[in-house]
């Protein structure tokens, strides 16, 4: 998703000893006043949160800000964790809602930019037009196109397509993650698909489609 390089652990760095306690035990420790137990929770869940944030933000600095905000919110709201669902489900709910807030705060109209295609993207679309099966789904041009297409969508449409069609989550899961009612999710998914089709139809009509 992002072309920026991410500095990761240096080669040869000693791995940190993992804490044998469960997530829920660590949460109880944090709530009991042992704030340092939260570091282990961060260490365990940060890879998944970085992958999630990279689905919504392009720049690495934005991704880091999102993940940081998720953990700070989680820490603040930890007294509200009721131990009914696994901690990672609860954390993912915080993450998805933070990503949605990020999309709403950075809402930009990029519809005009979507029609300006690179040579590789034009070539991929030509291949698709000649024979849809010959257009490789794994090609970078296809990835760039879908990324740009998603950026043209309003935040609520982008989130529902991401969760429902790309991550292939169920309506019930999306309801739990977003707090949206199930009928609302279905309506938004319907409208989001229509918005995507409209955006694709604007791609030099008659040339590709």
């Amino acid at each position: 998703m992002s072309a920026e390089s991410v500095p990761t652990a240096p080669i040869g760095a000693s791995p940190v000893e993992s804490d044998p306690r469960s997530d829920e035990d660590l949460v109880r420790a944090v709530l009991g006043g042992a704030t340092e137990a939260f570091e282990e929770l961060v260490r365990r869940h940060q890879p998944r949160l970085f992958a999630t944030a990279r689905r919504y933000a392009r720049r690495e600095s934005e991704v880091e800000d999102i993940v940081q905000e998720v953990f700070l919110k989680a820490f603040e709201r930890l007294p509200g964790f009721r131990f009914e669902a696994p901690f990672d489900h609860w954390l993912m709910r915080v993450a998805v809602r933070t990503c949605y807030d990020f999309l709403r705060a950075h809402q930009r109209t990029r519809e005009s930019a979507f029609t300006d295609l690179s040579d590789e993207e034009e070539e991929w679309l030509n291949r698709f037009r000649a024979d849809p099966d010959q257009a490789d789904e794994k090609a970078d041009a296809a990835r760039a196109l879908v990324q740009r297409l998603m950026e043209t969508l309003p935040p609520q449409f982008r989130l529902v397509i991401q969760l429902l069609e790309i991550e292939e989550r169920s309506i019930k899961e999306i309801h739990q993650l977003t707090g949206w009612s199930m009928p609302l999710i279905k309506v938004r998914a319907f409208r989001a698909r229509a918005a995507m089709r409209r955006a694709l139809a604007r791609l030099k009509p008659g040339k590709y489609l």
């Binding site: 991410v6 990761t8 570091e39 953990f71 820490f75 794994k138 998603m150 590709y208």
Partner: protein, 100 residues
């Protein structure tokens, strides 16, 4: 061929490209440093000043409304002014007369 088949193809492409889950070095330490940092100090004078500034617009509005309504309705005649004046002047006149 239509836009729906292209859409489906692009969604399939998005499914094949999972974003990286790499984490910046020592990111967890950054989070913990953020948690240990004390919150901003609350300055009572700043809060008071901000509250006063927020009150400026409503006060100005009320002043203008009262001024407009008094202009529209017309001011009642000041019946108390004349007796007060004569009383004041009467007192002064008495003092002048009594002066040697």
């Amino acid at each position: 061929m239509n836009s729906e088949s292209l859409r489906q193809k692009l969604i399939a492409s998005a499914r094949t490209h999972s974003p990286s889950d790499s984490v910046p070095y020592a990111f967890e330490q950054r989070i913990m440093a953020g948690l240990r940092r004390p919150g901003p100090v609350v300055d009572a004078w700043n809060l008071w000043g901000a509250a006063l500034w927020r009150a400026v617009a409503p006060c100005l509005g009320i002043t203008l409304l009262v001024a407009a309504s008094s202009l529209a309705l017309g001011t009642p005649p000041d019946e108390a002014a004349e007796p007060f004046e004569s009383m004041l002047l009467a007192d002064l006149t008495t003092q002048i007369v009594e002066m040697p």
